[in-house]
């Protein structure tokens, strides 16, 4: 049996039927990671000893008859979540040797559910990037074509799930960092409503936009993982009191009468024709399943990218100030004085993209520029939110492409940050509004690269998105396609 291709539900059945133990499952996947990670570079840290230990504990709990939905099931965390007594790098040299003294709420919750963490997944440095090439630990490669990027910033998570190194992984999404790599790697990922998943212990990039979420090979597995991740957390003031929900209950609701809106703005210039065609066939499929399709407008969506690239760097420039060379970070040696300590430690510890965003963020918050940039961007943000409010008065779900193109080549966009930023042109507005959105596979290019379709919902309609995606996946098999990987290739 190829354990690495099974869904969470199948794995759970296997554990309960004693087809295999949690320890055997863990060992099998650790072996697959050892074989395939050298070419994919999806993991920054493989926590083998800790994984075997928790698998053994899970087996003991299973033997006692415990029946948790996730007990004994393997997973891995994006390396942005703090894990007590294990390395947490955030993809940066700055935190190369950082061992967190505490665990993120999400990490605690999944551990309490009995999940077995296999390691920490590669990512763009401090989640800033759309190709996973800004990681200090090297780029991640796309399992469908190792010359292509997996997307970012949760590129390690997407690649690991797509390649069958883990059945599910956590990711975070500030401007598309779950959905864009999910689309480029042919998996399913949801950015929940802002406030669903605790941000405590999740290293902040842009606090008002960051949201953790599940990445998996099906909507159903996403729902299972989100069930355990989502909960009100008193340690996060922006956590919503009604964050918890039963995401499995409504999965099977038929799509009859579902009102689907297709925004004109998502099908304009810059959209790859193959992507457009695949998404259109995905929309046709929804119609075939009973949904009514209508065209809608999101008139302020074209401003989303520029708005985002004011607000996210502004928050980041402040959030990243704590990485100052004084306490737990990289510290430059041979410094002359305090200013020198700051300057050199931060110059050496941060990569070019992170430095660029800190500079931009510092600039837009500066006296004399604040009103023209930060304040103006907040006003546009309100307009973008208003667009969605109007749209959701007419439709239940908005559907469009997740990305303007399929996976691009390694290094292809490195020289041009703006073209890199445009990879998130369809995903960013969702973060600015705080609404939930999901990406699921809806086809392949002729060259065999996956294409993602994005579903967007109103606040707290996460369960509806999972429901629509699940019903779609009952009728289609795009999500069942698996990349071919040979161990030993580099």
């Amino acid at each position: 049996m190829d354990l690495h291709h099974l869904s969470l539900r199948q794995l759970r059945e296997g554990l309960h039927n004693k087809d295999f133990s949690a320890l055997e499952l863990t060992e099998t996947l650790l072996q697959r990671i050892r074989a395939l990670n050298p070419q994919l570079n999806a993991f920054i840290t493989v926590t083998e000893a800790a994984a075997l230990e928790s698998a053994t504990q899970a087996d003991a709990r299973l033997a006692k008859g415990e029946a948790g939905a996730l007990l004994g099931l393997p997973m891995a965390h994006k390396d942005i979540f703090c894990t007590a007594d294990l390395p947490t790098t955030c993809g940066s040299k700055m935190l190369e040797n950082f061992v967190a003294p505490y665990s993120a709420t999400v990490v605690e919750r999944l551990a309490a559910a009995g999940m077995v963490m296999l390691g920490k997944l590669n990512m763009d440095e401090f989640a800033m990037g759309s190709s996973n090439e800004t990681s200090y630990f090297g780029p991640v490669r796309n399992p469908w074509n190792v010359d292509m990027v997996p997307g970012g910033s949760s590129g390690g998570s997407a690649a690991a799930v797509a390649a069958g190194l883990v059945p599910v992984a956590t990711g975070t999404d500030t401007g598309g960092s779950i959905r864009q790599p999910a689309a480029l790697c042919g998996i399913t990922g949801i950015k929940p409503t802002y406030g669903r998943v605790s941000r405590y212990g999740m290293i902040a990039f842009a606090s008002s936009l960051d949201q953790g979420g599940p990445m998996a090979r099906s909507a159903e597995d996403c729902a299972l993982l989100l069930d355990a991740m989502a909960a009100h957390d008193p340690r996060d003031s922006t956590s919503h009191p009604a964050a918890a929900s039963d995401f499995l209950r409504g999965l099977d609701r038929p799509l009859q009468g579902l009102r689907v809106g297709v925004p004109e703005e998502f099908f304009g210039e810059g959209l790859d024709p193959e992507v457009a065609a695949a998404v259109q066939s995905g929309i046709d499929q929804l119609a075939k399943q009973g949904a009514s399709i209508q065209s809608i407008r999101l008139p302020n969506n074209p401003h989303a990218v520029s708005t985002y690239y004011v607000l996210a760097p502004a928050e980041a420039s402040s959030n990243l100030s704590r990485f100052d060379g004084v306490r737990y970070t990289h510290r430059s040696q041979a410094v002359e004085n305090l200013d020198d300590l700051y300057r050199k430690s931060r110059y050496e510890g941060f990569g070019a993209e992170v430095r660029r965003r800190i500079l931009v963020g510092t600039y837009v918050l500066s006296a004399g520029y604040y009103d023209a940039y930060y304040l103006k961007a907040q006003q546009v943000r309100s307009l973008i939110r208003e667009d969605f409010r109007r749209a959701f008065a007419e439709v239940d779900v908005i559907v469009g492409p997740t990305t303007p193109s399929p996976a691009f080549g390694l290094g292809a966009k490195n020289a041009d940050p703006i073209s890199m930023y445009l990879a998130d042109i369809y995903t960013i507005a969702v973060n600015l509004a705080g609404i939930p959105a999901l990406s699921l596979p809806c086809g392949f290019t002729r060259s065999g690269l996956p294409i993602g379709m994005q579903l967007m919902g109103d606040y707290f309609a996460d369960d509806l998105l999972l429901n629509v995606a699940h019903r779609y996946q009952q009728e289609t098999d795009w999500h069942l396609a698996r990349p071919t990987l040979q161990a030993g290739e580099a």
Binding site: A204, S237, E315, S321, R327
Partner: protein, 477 residues
């Protein structure tokens, strides 16, 4: 032509909550460095702030006490700058929308006049840690125990026109936060500290350029720093120069202020709303609950003291200057005449405390013991003079009022026959003074009183001695 001095104060009052403003760590002073810390106040990656409701209630209490507008919605903002004892690289404060808006404070000056000083705003913020430069060679230590301690920054209008007014305002605010029990007021430990903005102008002219003086941790330093600053600015202006807007540090050892940084060197703090914290929303029920819990405030107490104990405005002002002193006085005055109680508390008691350099809270004579002493004067068991001796003894060595009176035989002599014997003896022994008195030297009465009191070892009732002397000295031989 004269200069008018314009002063505004920024006061940082450390709120006496048990835990820090954004985490559950203890705020206790003096612990082992970095022992009162957690991922939040150490600014570990991913750690997030959660607002301490008790700190908010204390801010509301101050707002109510100064009749301020309480903002139903206020915003926490980040003040960004790098310093090793500021672990996040920003301080969480309030900028555009503070929790407490415009209010006012009435101060009483020594000459009995009163003045209203406007309070611009008061906002919540967190304190930084401490850098320790001693005990490290070529390095600095960082103690983050204080990082995250709640502060209320109370900003006045530029309404003060002399160092005396500034001191009166600061004392009034100091008394107020202690009345409200929101701050321990300990200026040495820095839990109540003050920066002063000082400028000069010709009367009627627009405000001059100001200097901000930092590091004022006593009333005396505030006064001296302002006086120094007035002279410094006056010298510059009168020699044709102009004042540079800058931050200056007061050096108490040298009694001078010196420049820390100019406006040009000032940080651009890049304030923006903290996305980790929701807007602070106050509802009426919460405000009302705090209002119900407010104690009697200084101005109300002062008015009541004047009415209930028949005290002058000055006496009532002194006695209500601190809540502890007012409470002490009320115990003493419970059952004795108000003015007498006031004289004892303001005179002998405060004098002894001053001399010993201790505060009323540490007073070795409990209030009920002083009341008993005053009662023994009222019931004529002892004279006021003897009472002072007993007070001194109890203050320094302890002991019980009645036990000291009895064991030392200090009970007042009120037996007319016994006093008459002493009076007659003194009159017989001093014929020259008797003649002088009868010739019109009225002042000599004091001499006779003194002699009789001396003969009675201070125990004769002075009123009776007086009366008897007047009677006997008038009677011709």
């Amino acid at each position: 032509m004269d200069w008018e001095v314009v002063i505004g104060l920024e006061v940082h009052a450390q709120l006496n909550t048990a835990t820090k403003i954004f985490c559950g760590c203890s705020t206790a002073f003096g612990a082992e460095p970095n022992s009162h810390t957690c991922p939040v106040c150490l600014a570990m990656p991913g750690a997030l702030p959660v607002l301490n409701a008790a700190a908010v209630d204390k801010a509301i209490a101050l707002g109510l006490a100064i009749g301020a507008q309480l903002n139903r919605k206020s915003i926490f903002a980040r003040k960004n700058y790098f310093y090793p004892d500021l672990p996040k690289g920003y301080q969480i404060s309030q900028y555009e929308l503070p929790v407490v808006g415009q209010g006012q404070l009435m101060v009483q000056m020594a000459d009995g006049t009163e003045k209203v000083i406007g309070v611009t705003r008061a906002h919540l913020e967190e304190d930084a840690g401490k850098s320790l430069h001693e005990a490290f060679v070529g390095q600095s230590g960082i103690d983050l125990n204080r990082a995250g301690t709640p502060l209320l920054e109370i900003v006045s209008e530029p309404d003060m026109r002399s160092s005396a007014e500034a001191v009166a305002y600061l004392k009034k605010l100091h008394a107020l936060v202690r009345y409200l029990e929101i701050c321990d007021g300990n200026m040495q430990e820095g839990s109540f500290r003050c920066d002063a903005n000082v400028s000069l102008r010709r009367p009627g002219a627009p405000f001059g350029t100001r200097a901000e003086i930092k590091n004022l941790n006593s009333f005396r330093f505030l006064e001296k720093a302002i006086e120094y600053e007035i002279l410094r600015q006056k010298d510059i202006l009168e020699s044709g120069g102009s004042i540079v807007q800058e931050t200056r540090l007061y050096d108490a050892n040298r009694d001078e202020t010196r420049s820390m940084r100019s406006k040009e060197e000032a940080n651009d703090y890049r304030y923006f709303p903290d996305p980790d914290l929701l807007p602070l929303v106050l509802d009426e029920a919460r405000i009302e609950k705090v209002r119900q819990g407010l104690p009697e405030l200084p101005d109300a107490k002062r008015a009541r003291f004047m009415d209930q104990y028949q005290l002058s405005a000055y006496d009532a002002g002194v006695l209500t200057a601190s809540r502890d002193l007012a409470d002490y006085f009320e115990v003493v005055a419970d059952g004795v005449e108000g003015k007498l109680a006031a004289n004892w508390v303001m005179g002998d008691l405060l004098g002894a405390l001053n001399k010993a350099g201790i505060e009323i809270q540490e007073c070795p004579v409990p209030a009920d013991k002083l009341r008993l002493l005053v009662q023994r004067i009222e019931d004529k068991t002892i004279s006021g003079k003897i009472a002072k001796d007993i007070f001194e003894e109890i203050f320094h060595q302890g002991g019980e009022v009645d036990a000291i009176i009895d064991s030392r035989g200090l009970r007042q002599i009120t037996d007319v026959t016994a006093i008459a014997v002493m009076v007659d003896a003194i009159i017989s022994a001093n014929p020259q003074q008797v003649a002088g008195y009868r010739a019109g030297k009225d002042k000599l009465l004091g001499f006779f009183v003194g002699q009789v009191m001396k003969a009675s070892q201070g125990k004769a009732n002075p009123d009776q001695v007086n009366a008897l002397l007047l009677e006997r000295l008038q009677k011709p031989d």
